[in-house]
């Protein structure tokens, strides 16, 4: 069961990811990305993290990607559609990524508990919003507060960057 779920999600995710980078139309890319995010959320679920799934779907698939789509529509980007797929660049990028992949997989061999098998039947502590919330407001209160400042900065930044010019 675990295996089937994983393989389906994995193949779907990889396909979505490929679609993101290969689609000529940015809108299609963005939609693929939404799909990918949803699949990723489900993957989180397979790892017993329901809270993160929700966050993933709401924040990423919901807010972030909507923003992307919105901007793409707004800017009306069609120029790139006419260009052919840059195979040469793709090949170079693949090559570099392959080398990186080589390193990555050799590193992967060494991960401790790497061969620990996933089993849903095994009891694992349930990770729900409450526990994470508790941690966030006790141990991790400082970074959490800082994210607040971060969002403030982002807000100001977005306003500054997109405010209509005063004529």
């Amino acid at each position: 069961m675990e295996a089937i779920t994983f393989w389906i999600l994995a193949i779907g995710l990889i396909a979505a990811a490929w679609s993101v980078i290969l689609q000529r139309n940015p809108v299609a890319s963005a939609l693929s990305l939404v799909a990918g995010f949803i699949l990723l959320g489900i993957l989180f679920l397979t790892l017993n993290s329901s809270f993160l799934m929700m966050v993933q779907i709401i924040v990423y698939a919901g807010a972030v990607m909507v923003l992307f789509l919105f901007i793409i529509m707004l800017l009306d980007l069609k120029t790139e559609e006419k260009r052919p797929v840059p195979y040469l660049r793709l090949a170079v990028a693949l090559l570099i990524a392959a080398i990186f992949g080589g390193f990555f997989f050799s590193a992967l061999q060494a991960v401790p508990n790497g061969h620990k098998v996933l089993s849903w039947s095994q009891p694992v502590p349930h990770v729900d919003a409450g526990e994470i919330g508790q941690l966030l407001f006790s141990k991790y209160v400082l970074p959490f507060e800082i994210t607040g400042v971060l969002l403030l900065v982002a807000t100001i930044g977005v306003i500054v960057l997109s405010k209509k010019e005063i004529k």
Binding site: A3, F6, A10, I14, A17, V20, I21, S29, A30, L33, G36, L40, L43, F44, L47, S49, F51, L52, V55, Q56, V59, Y60, A63, V64, L67, F68, I71, L74, L75, L77, T79, E80, P86, L90, V92, A93, L94, I96, A97, F104, F105, V111, N113, G114, H115, V117, L118, V124, I132, L135, P143, F144, T147, L150, A154, T155, G157, V158, L161, S162
Partner: protein, 107 residues
């Protein structure tokens, strides 16, 4: 055959790695800044996946990884907001989102 039936941490990590690399390829290959930016999001998500899996599979399950993921998602959201605002501003000024058109600063 076991490799297909027994899903291990390595499977998740491999998936995250592949996701990461696809994102990397996208960043290298694409010229449209928005798509590049989407690819970057893919890379961040790969990291999230890795973190969550590590959390799940650790000997003594811990939540620090989840906190990290939560923070990453928040930060990424903020980053996307600022980034897209920047791209919009760029588009307004130059009517392009192609990296090939951004070469006035060089050498």
């Amino acid at each position: 055959m076991e490799a297909f039936t027994q899903i291990t941490l390595n499977h998740y990590l491999a998936l995250s790695g592949i996701l990461f690399m696809i994102g990397m390829i996208g960043v290298m290959m694409r010229r449209n800044i928005i798509v590049i930016y989407m690819s970057l999001e893919l890379m961040l998500n790969a990291a999230n996946l890795a973190l969550v899996s590590f959390s799940r599979f650790s000997a003594v399950p811990k939540l620090d990884g989840h906190i990290m993921v939560f923070l990453i998602i928040t930060v990424a959201a903020a980053e996307v907001a600022v980034g897209l605002a920047l791209i919009v501003a760029l588009y307004r000024l130059k009517q392009t989102t192609n990296t090939g058109d951004l070469t006035s600063l060089k050498f």
